[in-house]
């Protein structure tokens, strides 16, 4: 009996504490709020109510272990026979077993047919969307705020992420623009005119699994992908020199227009990003 009184006393203390904490929480909130104090008070209040409930439940529960005997799972032979008899009866009442079985087949078939339609939810075929980007001949390069890039935007050793003008949110079209000293690049055959005044632009999407290749080490002239440390040599057509990427970053052919703006000569000459089923 005395232990019961002690439990009740503890519960009362906990509930009073919880009440006070809740009122204090309201006070702190009204006074302008302080996240840590609010969290602590909420924790004390909820915790007090919870612990009091647990104490109550434990007081209610009887002492010792109670074992409830479970009945036999298996029915006796007479019950089984009765069920079988009933099934036979039901089937005999129907127009015929054959037609019932046919209906089963029909229902199953219809369900199977219905299950085929969700295949449509795999979406429309991408068509050529994976093969091209928003870049086009003459597209100006703009930064994330839409400001066009000119030949003076970057100093040697500088870098910036650029988009085609009018398509700043085209994720597949983002390029990382780097400026290196004139003559430092070793352009691949056919790409000699793609990098005016040391400006060179590569797709920012890693050909490994598509992370943004956004880390530029200016002294080593290397672009680094933060996800799996694929490293690309900017001077050598963004050839992968380290890490899991196996293909070079696609290069955007750049030019400078009459007003000094950086423009694209054309779209990329290969699909950007990681490989897909019909890439090649």
């Amino acid at each position: 009996m005395s232990s019961r009184q002690a439990t009740e006393g503890r519960m009362a203390a906990l509930l009073v504490t919880a009440t006070l904490a809740a009122l204090a929480l309201a006070g702190v909130y009204i006074a302008g709020g302080q996240p840590q104090a609010e969290g602590a008070l909420l924790g004390v209040s909820l915790g007090g109510i919870g612990v009091a409930l647990v104490l109550w439940a434990r007081g209610l529960a009887s002492e010792g272990t109670v074992v409830g005997e479970r009945g036999d799972l298996a029915g006796d032979a007479a019950d089984e026979a009765a069920v079988e008899e009933r099934i036979e009866e039901v089937l005999d009442e129907q127009p015929g077993r054959r037609s019932v079985l046919r209906l089963f087949w029909a229902a199953g078939g219809a369900l199977g047919l219905a299950a085929v339609f969700p295949l449509r939810s795999l979406g429309p075929a991408p068509g050529r969307a994976l093969l091209t980007t928003a870049w086009y001949r003459g597209a100006r390069l703009v930064d994330v705020n839409g400001r066009p890039l000119t030949v003076g935007t970057l100093q040697v050793g500088g870098t910036l992420t650029a988009f085609p003008q009018g398509a700043q949110h085209a994720g597949d079209s983002q390029v990382v623009v780097v400026r290196v000293a004139d003559g430092e690049l070793r352009p691949r055959p056919g790409r000699e005119s793609w990098s005016p005044q040391g400006y060179v632009a590569y797709s920012k999407i890693c050909p490994h699994v598509g992370c943004p290749v956004s880390l530029y080490q200016a002294d080593a002239h290397e672009l680094l992908c933060p996800c799996h440390q694929s490293t690309f040599d900017v001077l050598d057509g963004a050839r992968p020199t380290f890490g899991p990427a196996t293909r070079s970053l696609p290069q955007l052919p750049l030019a400078v227009d009459a007003q000094g703006y950086l423009i694209a000569q054309a779209d990329f000459d290969e699909p950007v990003g990681p490989g897909f089923w019909n890439r090649d």
Binding site: G158, D219, A220
Partner: protein, 248 residues
């Protein structure tokens, strides 16, 4: 030792004054105190810097780059962060105890600036710049390497982007304009002075960010936060569950 240094300094200064005229015309008229500062800087330079940067700041192959045209911003950044002098020439210059007094740094900076025109030490007006714009610019241009919380991070070739927690406003601005080490350069045409001020203000904010949760946990992001939630939170819950299930 001192005598050798002084002689070397005198020689270097002589060589410098002889060569300076053909390197570049002075951008501004040099006043007498400024000339004295450059001369004092040349003395310091001759003692500690010539091994790697050459007697006239022309650089030494496989040791140190040329200082002609790097500007005052570069010299001030490297010296005021303790990155220079560097004992191993090809190693990444790390922030360490500053080797020179403020006066000596000013003299060395004046000397390096006199070698050729380059970015001046940026003037930072405390409290200028837009914090929200700084956040956007930082996220776009700085966070890839320095992490969103300016805690720094690993790069390739055993190089790392340093944490920015000790960088002063001027040093942050200098680093943008200079592009020290592996860092790309963000010149005035890339980020104008107002934008640079915003980035500086945001980096200063990141020194003492507004951690609404209370504990920053090193500002390393969701992994330590999840670790604490799972180990501490779930651990406490397991203890509670065990207590609830215990018979009195």
């Amino acid at each position: 030792m001192v005598a050798v240094g002084l002689v070397a300094g005198a020689l270097a200064f002589g060589a410098l004054t002889a060569g300076a005229a053909q390197v570049r015309p002075p951008a501004t008229t040099t006043t007498a105190p400024a000339r004295a500062e450059v001369a004092a800087g040349a003395q310091l330079y001759a003692v500690a810097c010539t091994t790697c940067h050459g007697t006239e700041g022309q650089g030494v192959t496989d040791r140190g780059p040329t200082l002609i045209g790097v500007g005052a911003a570069s010299a001030d950044f490297y010296l005021s962060t303790g990155r220079m002098p560097l004992d191993r020439p090809r190693a990444q210059a790390e922030r360490k105890r500053v080797a020179y007094s403020a006066v000596q740094i000013r003299q060395l900076v004046a000397f390096v600036a006199s070698l050729g025109a380059g970015p001046a030490v940026p003037r930072i007006v405390t409290g200028s710049g837009d914090l929200a714009e700084g956040n956007r610019l930082y996220a776009n241009n700085c966070a890839p390497c320095h992490s969103s919380a300016a805690a720094g991070g690993a790069l390739g070739h055993a190089v790392y982007a340093p944490p920015l927690n000790r960088a002063t406003a001027v040093q942050v601005a200098e680093a943008m304009r200079v592009g020290p080490g592996a860092m790309p350069v963000f010149g005035p045409a890339t980020l104008d002075d107002a934008q640079a001020a915003s980035v500086v203000r945001y980096v200063q904010y990141l020194h003492r960010p507004d951690d609404r949760g209370g504990l920053g946990l090193g500002h390393l992001g969701p992994i330590p936060e999840g670790f604490v939630a799972w180990v501490v939170g779930l651990g406490a819950m397991l203890v509670a569950v065990r207590w609830i299930g215990t018979k009195t």
